[in-house]
Symmetry: C2
Subunit: 299 residues, 2 copies
């Protein structure tokens, strides 16, 4: 991953194909297996996993990610033109789909109960760790939004719903089902906010909306400035809420400081101990404030 991008997600976008494309590209050239350098910026000893895409035209060869330190070692050995033999043993397999559920809780709106404001994260995670940042943090923050609104005695006009989506990492079935239910129940989805970029210090919010809606939203930014929020940007959203685009819902995401995100991304390091309670709180408090404003002033 290119460390010269300040935005680490840009580097992830540029390099991700090395992981998800590797098995197909390697198989095309006759490889019996694919081994990739993990998507991480800091050197570490942890493999970072993630989606790999197979193509029916080529053999579905085994694919593994090795740590950045191991990849550096391997690269060095290869440059020395050493004869290398690698032994790979994997025990991953695709199992058939099994029933699973989104989990939601809501405060019903006092004036417009059928107008829904969604705040969410996703429940599933890669099995190397707890998924504490990805996306336990987003789930806890979404619940905290509901708790904070209740604790402050606020009676929202619209229904505010915290949703822990299922299956974000492997197909987005939870997000698709959420849209399906929204349509079936004729719900009006005015706003959806996702937290899925780690429970780090919040820096901004991004929004996908009409220009007029964005102007209205941008006028609230000064209210959050003292909470550590530096910017309101465009192109907001998240994997789980993106299906709501079909309903013209205004989509948003909280953008935390992400410099440490790829230290924990899809790796054994994504554990509770690596979440700062204070950073998590700051994010949740800002999310609650934003949702309060959306409910109070509409979009």
């Amino acid at each position: 991953m290119n460390p010269t991008n300040i935005n680490v997600f840009k580097s992830y976008g540029e390099s991700g194909i090395a992981r998800w494309g590797a098995p197909t590209i390697a198989a095309k050239y006759g490889a019996v297996a694919a081994m990739v350098r993990s998507m991480a910026i800091n050197p570490d000893d942890y493999p970072h996993t993630g989606v790999t895409v197979y193509n029916d035209s080529f053999p579905k060869i085994p694919a593994v990610a090795i740590s950045t330190n191991d990849a550096n070692w391997l690269s060095h050995q290869l440059k020395m033109k050493m004869q290398l033999t690698v032994f790979i043993q994997t025990n991953c397999m695709m199992l058939p789909d099994a029933p699973s559920f989104n989990v939601a809780g809501e405060i019903r709106g006092s004036e417009f109960p059928n107008e829904i404001i969604t705040v969410g994260g996703h429940l599933d995670s890669w099995d190397l760790a707890e998924g504490a940042h990805d996306d336990g943090a987003g789930c806890v923050q979404s619940i905290e939004v509901i708790r904070a609104i209740k604790a402050n005695g606020i009676k929202p006009k619209r229904t505010i719903r915290a949703v822990m989506f299922m299956n974000e990492e492997n197909g987005r079935k939870g997000g698709d089902k959420y849209l399906e239910l929204a349509e079936a129940n004729k719900e009006k989805h005015v706003f959806a906010l996702e937290s899925d970029e780690g429970g780090f210090t919040p820096r901004g919010f991004n929004f996908t909306s009409t220009e007029m809606q964005f102007e209205k939203i941008a006028s609230w930014q000064k209210l959050l400035l003292n909470s550590g929020i530096d910017y309101f940007g465009k192109n907001g959203g998240g994997a789980d809420i993106d299906p709501l685009k079909k309903l013209n819902t205004v989509l948003a995401d909280i953008a935390p400081d992400t410099q440490r995100y790829f230290d924990i991304h899809h790796a054994a390091t994504d554990v509770f101990e690596n979440v700062s309670r204070r950073e998590l709180h700051l994010g949740a408090a800002n999310m609650a404030a934003l949702i309060y404003l959306v409910d109070k002033y509409g979009l």
Copy 2:
């Protein structure tokens, strides 16, 4: 420490007297020892140490800090009106001063070698840990500024000097000596930048200067925006460089995200493993860029 301040240093300023003032205030009321809650925002199991001030009018009683978790437990017990006996054993003592040194390295200016730009941190730390953030990070970043300028083939007009100050935590003798030598050597100190707020993601720089100088500096902010720097503020400086005020030097500090600072401040947690290489790099790169601009355009 008040967790509702976004700026944790504000909370430290408000609560710090509980630590540094405790022995004198307690002794005044006849206490045989003082035990204080550590200065930390997140609950943890670590005592956080720091300066304590004695007053010759009262007995110099032993003083200890206990962890926030222990303090919560103790507070709970006291509220239950339990009879409590505390046994304190301390082995701290004031030893006589011993010789010690600031450590400095510089690139001599090609045009104005007698005009000095200082970038620094401090070498000393509290003995509970390595002082990796406080202030190993600032030392490493200051050296990195020199290295980066050299590595980029830049020949600065002014002398750029990285200084690792001694004795910041316990009297600022290194900073005072630095001023003394500057005066003795008739050096012209145009700018001094300190990094002593932890090696976390950089967010801004603060400056103490004339209004005209600040306007000039502020015009450079846009050049750093893409490096993750959000603001240029006022009231900049640092304990080690503050003596240079006497020479009308423009003083500055790098202001990183400090939400995790009081997790490690003066505690056993201030170790190398808790410094993110990437966050440290980002700070150093921005410091180098700022110093490059000061040298290039003057103040």
